[in-house]
């Protein structure tokens, strides 16, 4: 099944901006995060199709996953 992965801010600069790839059915967001090599402790926001999600959520064909670093203000 096809999943689009979008990376934001420092993740985009370090890896890529957007990529659509084939993944096995039942793939979890965590599997994709590990495959890219993003340290989990640097992950701030995880979205599936624009909605907040968790790393253990499973993906469906056609989903878009957005991964963003930790943020903070000041």
């Amino acid at each position: 099944m096809q999943v689009t992965v979008k990376l934001v801010a420092s993740f985009r600069l370090k890896w890529f901006k957007e990529a659509t790839q084939d993944y096995p059915h039942g793939v979890e967001i965590l599997d994709i995060v590990n495959e890219i090599g993003i340290p989990v402790n640097e992950l701030g926001i995880v979205l599936i199709n624009g909605h907040h999600a968790s790393l253990k959520d499973k993906l469906q064909d056609g989903d878009t996953v957005s991964l963003m670093p930790l943020i903070g203000g000041g």
């Binding site: 934001v8 600069l13 701030g44 926001i45 909605h51 907040h52």
Partner: protein, 613 residues
């Protein structure tokens, strides 16, 4: 600070702090060592200064009885990383209740002034009354204790904060400085004057790389008191770096929450600048007076776009490895680094960029630089200017001032300059007063008279319960984007627990960019290693909570009414469909939230303020 006896490592009354009171009118200077009343006094910053303010009944910020309190935190001047903060507290000329009474405020800044102040041996300076002519104060360490002098400062009048500092530096070696700019001098028409703090980088390079204590008009208070600058002169005494202290600092850098603020080249997130990109993913970056348009215009302010035209250099304060400052330098024709353009952090770059309809980094830099030179708070000025532009767009037939509207750089620049020079008091007194005068308050972006930072009001109902800067005194401004929380229960929970604890950093003397909660073991270890004091996490959390609630109680005493605890009406009357985060704030939501938060806070607030009658 003096700690009496070995046995009293967790007894606040065994800790003495050194206060210097300077009567600017009579030029009388007194010193005293005072025992701490509680852990808030020990921790310092606003935790102590608000207890002083609470002892006074002040009905007008510009009155002789309103003190300006300059102090430090317990860990300022120690070897704990980021322990550099200085605090400026007073009843604010800017933040005022509907009844017309000024609110107690504090503002914090880094740089190296706080360290130097602490190292003179003074923990707190109270400036009473007003000087009859312009002066600057020199606080220095002496052989038998701190020494203080007031010196005529007519030669500094009219200079920018940076220029004042560079001028004073010629006469005071081994010193750091707090100064005001023209805006603070024009305190009668500018209520948002900032205090400008020197940094080592500034003094070495001669470039205006300052830090600012901007919120609430503490620079205007200095102007009112005819106090143009403060010099803190002492040798450096940062304290020993023991193995345990090395561990603390290692944890600040590696195991806390500071990675996001560290330079990209160091593997970090690149400071607050990265927030733009994350918020843009939800179309939640303020544009045109906090009304995102749902387009990609702000991408022009993304770091890699800006880097095409400018060199971005990560720099930091004295001995701080977080190095959160993003300084933009022009490029010379041969590609080498040219002069400094501006510091480019999230708040100023949004509030002087997309929120004014400007997307050219060079223009934003010029406005940031001008605001800094004039010495105004970027948040208050930015939010008031964006209101003016919005008003003018809504009233093309009868615009205000020079008719400036979104994207009109030259006209906006002119308004900024005129405001800082004291020629546009309608802007200089902030958005609440201006919008009430014009009878159009719904799109004036402030809460309780203090302009909001560059995080949309519809994303943060926690602003309602911030007691000073909207995002600096209630740590909830990113919660919706981070976690998607939008139920009343979740917001009550966060406001009444970890959200309010953010203010603990403004007691201890550390930067919030350390990024751990007040209950974290790192805070206990840092305190123990730096001072020998042994307070538990629970004691620290309880003290921070009391200090916050005392601030809230002070708001109520200064006349803030229930109706003022709210968000700009526009977000409820006309929600912005372009923001893709959940739209959850309704009048009913706010009513429920307030009911439940007050039911937690009000019983705890009893007895926190002295009886003044």
């Amino acid at each position: 600070m003096i700690i009496l006896g070995e046995k009293s490592k967790n007894d606040p009354s065994a800790v003495l702090y050194h206060r210097c009171t300077i009567d600017l009118d009579t030029q009388t200077i007194t010193f005293e060592d005072l025992p701490c009343r509680n852990l808030e006094d020990v921790m310092g910053g606003f935790g102590r200064s608000f207890q002083v303010l609470a002892e006074r009944k002040i009905e007008n910020a510009y009155c002789r009885e309103n003190p300006l309190i300059v102090n430090t935190g317990l860990l300022t001047g120690t070897s704990v990383m980021t322990g550099l903060r200085a605090y400026f507290s007073a009843y604010s000329p800017l933040k005022q209740s509907g009844k017309g009474l000024p609110a107690a405020m504090w503002s914090a800044g880094s740089g190296n002034f706080g360290n130097k102040l602490k190292w003179t041996g003074i923990d707190e300076v109270i400036f009473e009354n007003c000087s009859r002519s312009p002066v600057y104060a020199v606080l220095r360490e002496g052989e038998l204790g701190p020494l203080v002098e007031l010196i005529p400062a007519d030669h500094l009048l009219g200079l920018s904060g940076h220029e004042k500092i560079m001028s004073l530096q010629k006469d005071y070696s081994n010193a750091h400085f707090a100064a005001i700019g023209p805006a603070g001098e024009n305190y009668q028409s500018v209520y948002m004057g900032a205090v400008i703090l020197s940094t080592d980088n500034q003094l070495k390079s001669g470039e205006p790389k300052n830090r600012f204590a901007g919120r609430g008009g503490m620079g205007s208070m200095m102007g009112y008191k005819n106090l143009l600058a403060i010099v803190a002169q002492s040798s450096d005494k940062p304290g020993k770096i023991t193995p345990a202290m090395r561990d603390v600092n290692h944890d600040v850098l590696k195991n806390g929450g500071s990675a996001r603020f560290q330079p990209v080249s160091q593997g970090g997130g690149g400071g607050t600048w990265a927030n733009i990109e994350v918020l843009q993913a939800f179309h939640a970056v303020p544009m045109n007076n906090f009304r995102p348009k749902g387009n990609d215009d702000v991408e022009q302010q993304f770091r890699d776009h800006v880097e095409k035209d400018f060199e971005v250099v990560s720099e930091g304060c004295y001995r701080c490895g977080i190095r959160c400052h993003n300084n933009l330098f022009n490029r010379n024709p041969d590609g080498s680094r040219g002069p400094l353009a501006a510091k480019y952090d999230f708040e100023p770059l949004i509030l002087f960029g997309s929120n004014l309809g400007l997307y050219d980094a060079a223009q934003t830099c010029e406005l940031i630089h001008l605001c800094d030179q004039l010495g105004m708070d970027a948040i208050s000025l930015g939010a008031t200017l964006s209101y003016v532009l919005d008003y003018n767009e809504r009233h093309p037939e009868k615009p205000l001032f020079n008719g400036a509207t979104f994207g009109q750089f030259d006209a906006i620049r002119a308004l900024m300059e005129e405001t800082g020079r004291g020629e546009r008091e309608e802007i200089g007194k902030g958005v609440k007063r201006l919008s009430e005068q014009l009878g159009e308050t719904s799109y004036a972006v402030h809460v309780k008279g203090l302009e909001l930072p560059a995080y949309l009001p519809e994303t943060n109902p926690g602003y309602i319960f911030a007691i000073a800067g909207g995002h600096m005194s209630m740590g909830t401004h990113m919660l919706l984007a981070k976690e998607g929380k939008c139920s009343v229960e979740e917001w009550v929970q966060v406001i009444t627990t970890q959200g309010l604890l953010q203010v603990g950093y403004d007691m201890l003397g550390l930067c919030k960019f350390v990024g751990v909660g007040m209950g974290h073991d790192l805070i206990v270890r840092a305190t123990r290693e730096a001072t020998g004091l042994e307070f538990t996490s629970a004691e620290i959390v309880a003290a921070v909570r009391r200090a916050y609630l005392r601030g809230l109680a002070l708001e109520l005493r200064q006349g803030f009414e229930d109706a003022e605890y709210t968000l700009p009406a526009q977000i409820i009357d006309s929600p912005n469909p372009n923001v893709t985060l959940p739209n959850f704030i309704t009048a009913e939501f706010i009513a429920q939230l307030k009911l439940r938060v007050w039911s937690v806070f009000l019983p705890e607030m009893e007895g926190l303020l002295p009886d003044l009658d």
